[in-house]
Symmetry: C2
Subunit: 417 residues, 2 copies
């Protein structure tokens, strides 16, 4: 934005007299200091030394941020087979801190010793192989900024609670820089047999989570990842080794990866038959619905936020597509009657979150905030009704409809999906 | 890399018999299970449920990663006026986890209540202003992936200890996604007077750290940042508000930012006169040496690493320039006699870390590993000698010479700068 265009954005605010400036500059007397930490006194944290270095040696957030945590939508009956959402309403940019990455576990988080961990590759291969973590670290590596989204994210097929925040409606998505070895590099090491068509990936957790992956997905950009946002994977994200399949429903990016078996057809595991299929209106089930389609959501203002006064706000949100880059995002403040193009934050990367922003002046009246993303293939994010017309309301997965946030004259923001 | 080109990279490894495959697939009997967690038994973490969700609700690294921490090079006499380095030897990609971002404090880390924190903007402005954190969050925001480097990083003007790791030679650099308000947006809000030329930035810490910033740097892309890698700033990084000046020595990105005073000349604060100036051979001092020049370092293999066997290794490192994008990085394994171009990991961003990689087959003999970066302006990273010929050895700051790691036939890697 140009410097000239943004004057007086917040309207009247507390202006400063020369005398006050003197105080702020550090000339406050003992009396002022006694009064504590108002804007015009010297606060205690300026009058005293702070914490020394490396305390702790691995840093943690400020105590004032203790409400910014992962949370389940409802208290789970089985905490080892449940999920937690990322607090998108508190986040900025596109990177998700590893400590706030969403979770979905089928038998809890195992505590795996990397020295003992092995990856086995067998089945329709020329040279079955067992690899240690040291072996895997030796291979050529790549890094990619990719989102991961649970196929169960946004359970609004039949609408949701007005009280839901964006953490509850859309929190099962996160974005990280992943580093590891291309799965194609490892399969080349063992040599695929001509009849190879599918790969079974198995986790070392108590669920021995297994999914079948078609060879075209495997040979795309699939990573066997050992690092996330610079450091080694977090336990909840598959430490010490996980699959990362860009743009594909999260449960297939098998965590705690211990085995890859190459076959000539899908293995029909529990997690791709009784689970992770989409029940259609006619009673049939869509199976192997891998790709997470184009989707977006406004994260600010969003459910649970409270606008304190009329005037300027920046509408901020996230958009993503399992098929490539986001081409454009339009934003509406009147429930879809009119739309304005949002600004996309560079760099816009394939199968990565894209941050969008658009200026908005709230007049104090009711408003319905929506965002609609288009990806580089031309796919347009559908309305909830367009989606339900095709898929019905029996499905638990792959909801990518347009989200609506309702702003009341009181400034209260609620879920209107 | 193409699938066809990478066969048999690691040479002979443990191959798998059909029977063993059966065991790995989960058919291990009780006897095998009793034996614990060898590669061919079912490990305890597969036989039991793991931790439930959100424990903790803000995630932490695996207990097996407890050696990956920030560390000072030597135990500091004054822990509140000291620095810690990022463990680059353990990191991948370009993002630095906030918990491992390098530290440099002048009076420790203050614990600031964001509700009480204020930013004052005064001096040669039309409308002096006091802003709350809520006010600042309302302004149009931008996100940028930028490195921060301490001007004192790499203290090898007179060589360093052979025992130094890359955490000790180069650890005072980190890279984050920063989100906040352009400083130019805030200065437009208050209105600069015609004679405005410099801005004093002041921290709310016990040192009231102050630096003078020329207007061209301020009006470039300087951010008043409240977020880092998605979440709000960490306390050690200036919570709740800091300046981020891309490509500029780290101490000027004032943390715990409480005041901006606009003037017509530099303010000659302690930190730009007695400190953070470069003493030249003729006894004069270079002042206002802002830009961090083009630099690179190999992070693997690097000091303290131990190569276990001959054969294939991927040489990995980081390159950066305070003047823009990295154009190319060359790598030598023979002390600079011959050079090979490294592959740069996309996206290559301006004033951001760039990860480079090059394949290497170690023949078991002695080797001298070096990297040399070139930025988009054509600037070539100098050798240590070229740098010393111009600057002498009195300076404590702005060392960007080529780093040499010595590989012994034993596989031990040491600092040979």
């Amino acid at each position: 934005m140009s410097v000239a265009s943004s004057g007086g954005r917040l309207g009247r605010r507390q202006f400063l007299s020369g005398a006050a400036a003197g105080l702020v500059a550090g000339a406050a007397g003992p009396a002022a200091a006694q009064q504590g930490s108002g804007p015009l006194q010297v606060p205690v944290w300026t009058r005293e030394q702070g914490e020394g270095i490396a305390s702790p040696a691995y840093g943690v957030p400020s105590a004032f941020e203790k409400s910014v945590i992962r949370k389940p939508r409802t208290p789970p009956k089985f905490p080892t087979a449940a999920s937690t959402g990322t607090p998108l309403q508190h986040l900025h940019g596109i990177i998700t801190p590893a400590g706030l990455h969403y979770e979905r576990h089928h038998a809890g988080v195992p505590a795996i010793d990397p020295e003992q961990h092995r990856l086995v590759i067998h089945g329709l291969v020329e040279r079955p192989l067992i690899l240690t973590m040291n072996d895997i670290a030796r291979f050529p590596s790549v890094s990619r900024l990719w989102f991961l989204e649970c196929s169960g994210n946004t359970p609004q097929w039949t609408g949701g609670s007005a009280k839901w925040t964006v953490q509850e409606t859309h929190g099962l998505i996160s974005c990280s820089e992943w580093t590891g070895v291309r799965l194609s590099t490892l399969l080349d090491e063992v040599g695929l047999k001509p009849e190879a068509r599918w790969v079974l990936a198995e986790g070392a957790d108590g669920a021995a989570m297994t999914r079948s992956i078609p060879l075209d997905v495997v040979l795309d950009e699939a990573l066997v990842a050992y690092a996330q946002n610079g450091e080694h994977l977090r336990p909840e994200q598959g430490y010490p080794l996980r699959l990362v399949l860009p743009g594909i429903e999260g449960n297939m990016s098998i965590k705690w990866l211990r085995r890859l078996k190459v076959g000539d057809q899908p293995f029909q595991s529990r997690e791709e038959t009784s689970k992770y299929t989409d029940l259609m209106p006619d009673g049939t089930a869509r199976q192997f619905t891998f790709v997470m389609e184009t989707k977006s959501v406004i994260t600010s203002p969003s459910g649970g936020h409270q606008l304190r006064e009329k005037g300027f706000y920046e509408i901020r949100g996230l958009a993503w597509s399992g098929r490539g880059r986001i081409r454009s995002v339009d934003v509406s403040t009147d429930g879809g009657a009119t739309w304005r193009p949002a600004e996309l934050q560079e760099p816009v990367l394939s199968r990565c979150l894209t941050r969008f922003r658009v200026p908005w002046t709230w007049d104090g009246g009711p408003a319905l905030l929506q965002s609609r993303a288009v990806d580089e293939t031309g796919y347009v994010q559908p309305s909830r009704q367009q989606l339900v017309d095709v898929r019905g309301v029996n499905s638990q997965y792959h909801f990518n409809g347009i989200q609506t946030w309702k702003v009341a004259p009181s400034g209260e923001v609620t879920n209107a999906a």
